[in-house]
């Protein structure tokens, strides 16, 4: 009987082989970019195979590194190939005019109730949907500033955990609300990605 970990490791190495072989054969620039994403997934699988709480904590930075490299490379590809024309106006249907306000309000309120990372994701989904359907001539600097300050509050909460552990409840509340604002602000920016002058 082969232990589970060794078996899964074997599968991961096999997938690595397939991914690298595909990358070696592929010559088109965009397809190679997409194939590197396949390799990123195997990277996360390697970390996830460890299967402890620590591995869970290590997946997030691994994912962030992979995503940021993917975004940087996509931007280089866009500039390299000279894709500058913004996409045309999207779908214009009646539901997209009336629904966003109600749905976004519901999701944001529910997100605030949940709080923390998952609450931020739910509320962010609401704001994303709103920006996606309505015009987005908003002040992006404001959203980014709010996100930055809430990140600082999140870090301060972690320092309270380390230096003044007796105030843990305050730190939990601070971290929970700060990460809510941060995730919401970051996710809402996705809704504005439609090209255009200030995208």
């Amino acid at each position: 009987m082969i232990p589970d970990y060794s078996l899964a490791l074997l599968v991961a190495f096999a997938v690595t082989g397939i991914a690298f072989f595909a990358l070696m054969r592929e010559t088109d620039g965009l397809h190679r970019l997409l194939l590197t994403d396949l390799i990123e997934v195997v990277t996360l699988a390697f970390i996830a195979l460890v299967g402890t709480d620590l591995a869970e904590a290590l997946i997030l930075p691994g994912l962030v590194v992979g995503t940021s490299e993917l975004i940087a490379l996509s931007e280089i590809y866009r500039v390299k190939e000279g894709f500058v024309r913004p996409p045309a106006d999207g779908l214009r249907i009646e539901v997209m005019e009336s629904a966003p306000g109600i749905l976004a309000a519901l999701l944001v309120v529910y997100g605030i109730v949940l709080s923390g990372f998952s609450g931020g994701a739910v509320a962010g989904l609401g704001v994303l949907f709103y920006f996606l359907c309505r015009d987005h001539n908003e002040r992006f600097e404001l959203i980014e500033t709010a996100s930055g300050y809430s990140w600082v509050l999140w870090i301060i909460a972690f320092f309270i955990f380390m230096i003044l552990p007796q105030y843990w409840f305050f730190a939990v509340m601070l971290a929970g609300s700060a990460i809510l604002v941060k995730v919401m602000a970051k996710m809402s920016l996705i809704g504005t990605m439609r090209g255009g002058p200030n995208a």
Binding site: L23, I39, L49, L54, V65, G66, E69, L70, I76, V79
Partner: protein, 217 residues
């Protein structure tokens, strides 16, 4: 275990995650620090191309916005290199190394020249693919020994798998492309001397550091 770095000069502990400096890593750290300071102070190089068969020449100007972005990326690269030099945790080290890789792409990709962008794209794909052996190596070390702390691994009692060490070294080679300077020749068409040299220096430093880690653990 061979101790090639010398005795610890300074240790900063956060639980089991710690930063430490030995004479070896301190030397590398100071080198990165000096070069980052130089990159902050220096002005970008003004490159001149001679037109073949005549007296004419092209003077390449570096725009202020481009210069600011590349200087920012150089400083980020220097900070990441300094972090990689002092880190006593293998996973933190791999994160610093991948940050060096991203900053290196940024330094080069700010130049709006087709040849340079093509080279930066290929380099970026290598750097991205290299995260697999890099994180894979760290994950293998964690799975087989149960710790990521370099001093704990160096103290002995753990059987670090050689394949984990090989993957770690392979990942750093891919992120820094240290032995592949020839492949980066296109990048050096980019004007702005002090910033491009940071790519080479950071590759060299992270490569020297991973050699120390692989021998020590």
């Amino acid at each position: 275990m061979p101790d090639i770095g010398g005795s610890d000069l300074f240790v900063l502990e956060f639980g089991d995650i710690l930063h430490y400096y030995t004479p070896y890593t301190l030397t590398l750290f100071v080198l990165a620090l000096i070069f980052t300071a130089l990159a902050i102070l220096a002005r970008p190089e003004g490159q001149v191309d001679i037109a073949f068969g005549g007296d004419a020449y092209y003077a390449k100007e570096t725009a202020v916005s481009e210069m600011r972005f590349r200087r920012f990326m150089t400083i980020a690269c220097g900070l990441a290199t300094m972090g990689a030099m002092g880190s006593g945790d293998i996973f933190n080290f791999t994160l610093f190394v991948s940050l060096v890789g991203i900053a290196n792409i940024g330094i080069v990709a700010a130049v709006k020249n087709r040849h340079v962008l093509n080279a930066a794209y290929e380099y970026g794909i290598v750097a991205m693919v290299a995260t697999l052996p890099l994180f894979g190596g760290a994950a293998l070390v964690l799975a087989t020994t149960g710790t990521l702390s370099i001093p704990a691994l160096a103290a002995g009692g753990y059987a670090v798998p050689p394949v984990g060490k090989v993957l770690l070294a392979l990942g750093v080679i891919g992120e820094g492309m240290a032995p592949f300077y020839a492949a980066k020749a296109e990048m050096f068409r980019a004007p702005g001397a002090p910033y491009v040299i940071m790519c080479s220096l950071s590759s060299l430093l992270i490569f020297l550091r991973v050699v120390e880690i692989v021998i020590t653990i």
